[in-house]
Amino acid sequence: MFVDGAFSIVSGAAVGGFTCETGIGCLAAAGILSYGADTAGHGIVALWTGEQQTTFGAQLLMKTGLSQAQAEILYGLGAAGVELATLKYLVKSPALLTDDLLRSYKAEGSFLPSKIKDLSVLHITNSGETVLGHFPGYINKANLKGASFFDIGDAWNDLTPVQRWAANTHFLDAIASKGDIVKLSLTKGEINPNSYLAKEIEYLTGQKGYKWVNQWSLRPPSGY
């Protein structure tokens, strides 16, 4: 635990871009940035007394309604450098913060096996365009245009929600880093606000700086 804490002083800074959009995010950001010292200190206490104490960061998260176990898991994942998008998803879905999830994370070191990472970028082309939308319209439109699209085949059914979203954001990170223009297979007004598509667009506009151009498309931030 003491070594863990020392390591986390570095990795905590790496996720300092946590936004305050959700309110909870502000607490998480504050907690994550001080995670290293916090957990190192508790590591010493735990070694000395043999008792596990709640970290200060987790105490902050508990004020948002998370249980102690959930808060500790989230706090620990944030400091370990888990993708921002995954963390935000977990903050909004505390029911998903289970012991199994933590065990799986510890076992694999990631929410996403490398095979799934490869699958998630399999249909990226060099067209400069990516199509998003509801299934199956976005795949049809992308194939007509020779554009990039996200399709991980049967693996979709084998992944947990957290893994599905991690695969999805891995794809979005890849097309954003290429500076792709994003086209939709439906208009902005037709997007179901509770859909995966809405989350994908929220991620691109909120985390990647994409802007709406018209009802059908988004462009990357200037510089691409």
Binding site: A95, D100, F135, P136, N140, D151, W156
Partner: protein, 116 residues
């Protein structure tokens, strides 16, 4: 048993299990016979939000080949996007009938196979 099947899309949103893991759990009741279309339609009529849940389940898919269920104007389409990215589909006027067909196509082989 029927309720577990009809609310399958809601379970996907509420748990951290994969779609196949949820199928494993609810497949226990389907070792021999999948519900008839009439039973599915009756269940869907008892709660109109179920249509929206199944449509959202279909919209959110990100893996092919697979079945889909969507609304097009005043009609409802059930189809299959195959491995060559070709759509084979049928159009329905009744949303309950269309949704029941989609549930049968999407879930029957999956649950029976899992149970078997």
């Amino acid at each position: 048993m029927l309720k577990d099947l009809l609310y399958f899309p809601e379970k996907i949103e509420q748990t951290n299990m994969s779609i196949n893991e949820i199928c494993d759990i609810i497949s226990d009741g389907y070792t021999k016979q999948f519900p008839k279309l009439e039973e599915l339609i009756g269940g869907l009529r008892s709660n109109r939000k179920l249509i929206g849940l199944w449509m959202q389940f279909s919209e959110n898919k990100r893996g092919s080949p697979s079945w889909y269920f969507l609304k097009a104007g005043e009609k409802y389409i059930v189809g299959y996007l195959d491995t060559d990215y070709q759509c084979n589909e049928g159009m329905f006027e009744d949303q309950y009938f269309a949704c029941a067909v989609f549930i049968k196509l999407e879930m029957e082989s999956r649950l029976i196979a899992t149970a078997g």
